[in-house]
Symmetry: C2
């Protein structure tokens, strides 16, 4: 059992008696290597993430590390015997509810039409690429979900993203800000895009920027799928899938 | 309890004794209106979706319908008493595991970096907008997740999307095709983008088109987060969040 210490603490009651490889936020690579080492020694190992391990999380690093170390891998049940390799492991990724789903549910329904997920962390990705993606997603009218919008060290990226979005979207476009979704410290707010820089945002925050079709209704944010334009809601017509 | 009949059947053992509003695929608007009617008559009503109700699913239509019918809504616990309206309802969206998470987990880790979700259904969205979004997402090197890639009536859209992606991506780019994720009829395949038109794809399929950084390793598809470029996996350096 391996994980960032904060996440290990959240599930402490469920993992009594297990060997725990708990490391800090900044030690993803070490944690994965120690987990793989343990698995190669015939002791199965679970690596925990918050949200979904497949979205901006540990699943990718596990697979990348196996590839770089030339460890053959197969999904559960596929049979390791067919793999001709010195080292071989079964790897299963168990999906979870990603922060974009948890946050969207708390806001209402901002993601019922096309969206783009973009991480503002430029520690592993050059800022020019992030900016290019912000421009493209804004220009093509995607709802934009921002992961890692801000940290103690990374403070200017969110305002830069706001400026890019404002080139394409009205200042009154609704923006959902969800801090620590589904935890005790949860906060859910809806603001206007032009005021986003005034909102409290941290590493545990996901930011949802509406498309031109998104709107706010009371305390909910909604992106319509298009039914209202095509069907007479309240009348007799209906959809056609 | 309301839902598309296929989904109602999947949970039949869990809903014994409940009033069930079950309608066909093409009756989303009627189903939502009947559910709201029931809730307004002081009988709580759950509308079920497969995957996550907030991603291309029913949550948006529920909120849109309340707005159009001028029904005041509040999240659970926020208090309906503050709403000055003739009709008022508590609305809660319960997030689930979206098809993009379930499919990604079965493929490995295609979504551990930026991605765009695009529905190829042009029944409620003009095709020109869909094409614009495909161009933008392809040009900015997003991983692209295609929802509703094909149905009995919509047969040409997926090949058109493939052609657009091929303008920007190598023909050997890995593409994950997941049919009926986590159900008995599940199929998981990884193909090359240039061969996507040869794959079996239906309405229950989600298609994952890799970015220029995505790769295939044995039976897994991976989009690296960037650790390997920055950190010496297997060596002593480590990341910095």
């Amino acid at each position: 059992m391996a994980g960032y210490s904060t996440y290990i603490e959240l599930i402490r009651p469920m993992i009594e008696g297990k060997t725990i490889i708990s490391t800090g936020m900044t030690q993803e690579v070490k944690r994965v290597e120690a987990s793989i080492e343990q698995a190669l020694n015939s002791r199965s190992c679970a690596i925990v993430s918050s949200g979904d391990p497949g979205i901006y999380a540990m699943a990718g690093l596990v697979l990348e590390t196996c590839k770089l170390k030339r460890i053959a891998i197969a999904p559960p049940g596929a049979g390791l015997n067919n793999l001709e390799a010195e080292a071989a492991l079964e790897v299963e990724v168990v999906p979870g509810i990603p922060a974009l789903s948890a946050g969207a549910a708390l806001l209402g329904a901002p993601l019922t039409h096309d969206f783009a997920a973009i991480s503002l962390s430029d520690l592993l990705t050059p800022w020019e690429i992030i900016e290019q993606r912000l421009e493209a997603a804004a220009g093509a009218d995607f709802v934009v979900v921002l992961y890692n919008p801000k940290s103690k060290k990374r403070t200017w990226q969110l305002e830069r993203a706001q400026q890019i979005l404002l080139k394409y979207r009205d200042g009154r476009t609704p923006v959902g800000v969800v801090v620590s979704a589904m935890r005790d410290t949860q906060q859910v707010r809806i603001a206007a895009l032009e005021d986003l820089h005034r909102e409290y945002v941290d590493m545990q925050t996901t930011v949802f920027i509406g498309s031109s079709a998104s709107s706010r209704y009371l305390d909910f944010m909604v992106t319509p799928r298009g039914y209202a334009g095509k069907y007479d809601i309240g009348g007799g017509k209906d959809s056609d899938a």
